[in-house]
């Protein structure tokens, strides 16, 4: 019931934030209508970071405690993170074409490290499919989930460490958060989109977590032979 309310709330919030971003704020003087893509691009990027941070923390939790809930959280974070990273890249490309004059530039450190981030977590999801044994799958996934997280700060600080096409961070220090270098309406649209997408992110993660828990329990039940038909279908673990 609570997740249903959350889902409906997320849908309404995303619809409202989208309407405000597309029609409620004026176009930027220099970037024109393309500026509106920034609201969804930045929100998706921040939530992608959060997703992979959750995966890394849950991976450590799994390696320390061997708790199946940790593996479910890690999987949920990674899968939703892949979705939001893909959204980030797509929105960035659609913004880059009218403003930069190009969809993509491999020489740019932010773009390239973000593409690498996407590849790392797609790899994480693929590696999880290599074994049917839940504990082994969780351990392999946890190692990849922790190693891949090294790319998160590299992506974020790439615009500070190296020069490229991508602009520097808009909100970096407490001073710029309190006194943002953008008009109040633009900041409001960004924060509204971030709030709405956060609700959607939470709904997706909670539901993916619940699905992962049910899958784990079904696999464990089948392995213990509670369901004879399923037990025959699931291969025994390799020694």
């Amino acid at each position: 019931m609570a997740t249903r309310v959350l889902g409906i709330g997320a849908m309404v919030a995303v619809a409202g934030a989208t309407a405000f971003a597309l029609a409620g704020v004026p176009a930027d003087l220099n970037q024109g209508e393309a500026q509106r893509i920034m609201y969804i691009h930045v929100a998706a990027a921040w939530l992608a970071y959060l997703s992979f941070g959750v995966t890394a923390a849950a991976s450590v939790w799994w390696l320390v405690r061997r708790d199946p809930r940790a593996d479910a959280v890690a999987l949920a974070g990674a899968e939703v993170g892949v979705l939001f990273t893909a959204a980030t890249i797509w929105a960035g490309m659609m913004w880059g074409r009218p403003v930069w004059g190009t969809y993509w530039q491999w020489e740019d450190p932010r773009l390239t490290t973000t593409a690498l981030l996407l590849a790392l977590y797609v790899g994480y999801l693929l590696i999880r499919r290599l074994t049917d044994e839940p504990a082994r799958r969780a351990t392999r996934g946890a190692v990849v989930g922790i190693v891949a997280a090294i790319d998160i700060p590299i992506v974020h600080f790439s615009v500070v460490w190296w020069r490229g096409l991508h602009q520097g961070p808009t909100f970096m220090s407490p001073d710029t958060i309190l006194n943002p270098p953008a008009p109040g309406q633009f900041v409001a649209a960004l924060l509204l989109m971030l709030g709405a997408f956060s609700l959607a992110w939470l709904w997706l993660v909670v539901n993916r977590y619940q699905l992962a828990r049910l899958d784990w329990e079904a696999e464990e039940s089948a392995r213990r032979g509670r369901l004879p038909g399923l037990a025959a279908a699931v291969p025994a673990p390799r020694p």
Partner: protein
């Protein structure tokens, strides 16, 4: 002409949004359907669940 150009630019932006929101919505729908199926399987008694050795059933029967 300026108005038409702005409408075209806004349509480009709206298309960018539509792909993201549509993709996220599709993922959410798939997730909800899979979760409903998993919950149904978890609450169905083992004896009622089909086994791989079961013969296929005729949907017209």
């Amino acid at each position: 002409m300026i108005g038409l150009a702005a409408i075209g630019d806004l349509a480009f932006v709206a298309a960018a949004y539509a792909v993201i929101l549509g993709g996220t919505g599709l993922y959410a729908l798939t997730l909800a359907r899979r979760l409903r199926g998993a919950r149904h399987a978890a609450t169905t008694p083992a004896s009622d669940q089909p086994r791989p050795s079961d013969p296929p059933t005729d949907p017209r029967a």
